[in-house]
């Protein structure tokens, strides 16, 4: 799919999903609804659509050849197949995803992977706020799956995260891991303020330093957890994150908290230079 000149108002395109495309003809796909502001349009009005076959397979690979930074909800709720975006993508990318894979060659806006349950999201550029987080009014954010961001991430990454892995090769902004329930976030860059605020469980690992630790986190001890070797090896063997290999034999300073929460069994592991 190649984007035509897109309207200035945001486009809502949850129909751009392998689950929706599966089994349909190209003609059907061209006629799918998308919303530009309060106007309902057909997909072919915003995208040139073509396929290698008359009828799309059960596990389609959707390729969007161009920048769709103004298009929201791509891959939302998908459970299978693959989406590749050769450009940037808008808000709510693959939110509530239940499976499959999304690769974005550019950057993504806010709420990417929000409340996802399974699958893989890989962003080669940066990500906005609330990556893998919970929506307002929701108790739980990401419940499974893997998110990898090769650039930087803005604020509130992994907020209310319940399970799964978020890996950031760059920096994360403020409130990363806030109110985390479980799961693991690995940050190869630097973490901003209020890291792990109100977290009850879960793990945040930081290699590039923390702006300032909250006073409600208590220092435990130097630590070399075996589980992190397992995770790092997974990252470089399964996901090609080469930098993970450099840290497989590392020591960390372990902090637990947030003591402001009821449970306070979250952990922050800060890489110790040799």
């Amino acid at each position: 799919m190649t984007p035509k000149p897109l309207p200035k108002v945001p486009v809502e395109a949850e129909n751009i999903s392998p689950d929706v495309f599966a089994g349909k003809t190209v003609k059907d796909i061209k006629g799918l609804d998308v919303w530009a502001g309060n106007k309902k349009l057909r997909l072919e009005e915003l995208f040139q659509v073509s396929a290698g076959t008359d009828r799309i397979s059960d596990e389609p690979h959707i390729i969007i050849d161009g920048d769709v930074a103004g298009v929201k909800q791509i891959g939302s709720g998908m459970t299978r197949g693959k989406i590749t975006i050769n450009g940037s993508a808008g808000m709510h990318l693959a939110s509530m995803m239940g499976g499959g894979e999304v690769v974005v060659k550019g950057s993504v806006s806010d709420w990417a992977g929000a409340e996802m349950e399974d699958g893989l999201i890989r962003v080669m550029g940066d990500a906005g706020n609330f990556l893998g987080a919970a929506y307002r009014g929701s108790n739980l954010g990401m419940k499974g799956g893997v998110i990898i961001v090769h650039g930087n991430v803005s604020d509130h990454a992994g907020k209310l995260m319940r399970r799964g892995v978020i890996t950031v090769l760059g920096d994360v902004g403020d409130f990363a891991g806030a109110v985390m329930k479980a799961g693991t976030m690995v940050v190869f860059g630097r973490a901003g303020l209020r890291l792990g605020a109100m977290m009850s469980r879960g793990t945040v690992v930081v290699y590039g330093g923390v702006e300032e630790m909250l006073p409600t986190f208590k220092y435990d001890a130097p630590y070399s957890p075996t589980f992190l070797r397992f995770y790092l090896k997974n990252l470089y063997v399964e996901y090609g994150i080469g930098v993970a290999k450099n840290y497989i034999d590392s020591m960390y300073d372990r902090y637990h908290g947030d003591l402001a929460s009821d449970i306070a069994k979250g952990e922050i592991l800060i890489f110790r230079e040799k």
């Binding site: 399974d118 799956g145 399970r163 630590y223 957890p225 075996t226 397992f230 090896k233």
Partner: protein
């Protein structure tokens, strides 16, 4: 009836083997020595189901690039009579021999999707963490679950569930030789060959058993006693002795495996190595007339002789 290979008589008979339940566990540690220490401790006192609760042995060493955490590892196979017994043995042995050993972690090394059953091991040992244990899954809700249990040297990392597989125990062959040295050398070479086959172990000391047994005894309190038909020193005292003239020493190699083909391959490789030793007169196998065991493994079949 018999046939010859390389001048050595091979009795045309079968090994009678039994169905058991098996598991493969992978122990890793900071270095090879500690991984082997944990593995040897776990597989200690595990030669025979008769009195040891299970039969266990080291299958192979695993290089760091093949282990889940990138550290040196050892694969261990454990066999028991039932899934329940296997679960109990794994829980005891992992809990007492691996959890206690410095720097170790332990993983299931047989795919759950190919298992006949699933056993909770980490899921039970996690309580040792006394509420401070942490569960981890890398990925979605169907990803494998592992437990982090705080201990004095950091954490013990253990997989929640382990595979239990229908397996085979009691593949065997016997080496009959003219001299003690020849018999032992042949047994050692056979045991070394068997170590190279994946999916099998020879659970007796060094892989070799010197005290083959028979069912029953003249003493009512004994379930099993020495195999008098294969004891050379009392050959003339036993009317139906199977010891040929000129044989001074017999050793038996017993092989357990996760599948029948691996057991047969191990028997074949073991026999081929043994018969190369000068002084080996005959190879035979132990059975109960085919009345007890599920599997009759013919030596001819293993060796590819028609």
């Amino acid at each position: 009836m018999s046939f010859k290979i390389d001048g050595v008589e091979i009795v045309d008979t079968f090994a009678e083997a039994f169905g058991m339940r098996g598991a493969r566990v992978l122990i890793t540690a900071r270095n090879r020595e500690w991984a082997l220490t944990a593995a040897r401790t776990l597989t200690g006192f595990a030669t025979s189901i008769i009195m040891c609760g299970c039969e266990a042995g080291i299958e192979r060493e695993v290089p760091p690039d093949e282990t889940p955490d990138g550290r040196p590892g050892v694969d261990v196979l454990v066999f028991s009579m039932s899934k329940k017994d296997l679960a109990e043995q794994l829980l005891k042995r992992v809990g007492q021999c691996v959890l206690t050993c410095p720097t170790t972690a332990i993983y299931n090394d047989f795919p759950l999707e190919d298992a006949d059953d699933v056993i909770s091991v980490g899921g039970k040992l996690r309580y040792f963490g006394d509420g401070y244990q942490i569960s981890k899954r890398f990925g979605g809700k169907n990803a494998r679950r592992l437990w982090r249990i705080p201990v004095m040297d950091g954490e013990f990392f253990i997989e929640d569930e382990f595979s239990s597989k229908k397996a085979i125990a009691g593949g065997n062959f016997m080496i009959l030789a003219e001299t003690p040295d020849a018999a032992l050398e042949a047994a050692e070479k056979a045991a070394d060959s068997i170590k190279c086959i994946r999916g099998v172990i020879a659970p007796f000391p060094g892989g070799v058993c010197r005290s083959g047994s028979k069912v029953g005894s003249k003493y009512k309190f004994l379930k099993a006693s020495t195999n008098i038909r294969l004891c050379p020193s009392i050959r003339a005292m036993v009317s139906d002795s199977e010891v040929p003239e000129g044989v001074s020493t017999i050793y038996e190699l017993i092989i357990n495996g996760l599948d029948l083909e691996s057991v047969k391959r191990a028997m074949a490789e073991g026999i081929r190595s043994a018969i190369k030793v000068h002084g080996v007169k005959r190879i035979t196998a132990g059975n109960y007339g085919g009345k007890l065991g599920k599997y009759n493994i013919y030596l001819k079949d293993c060796l590819g002789v028609k």
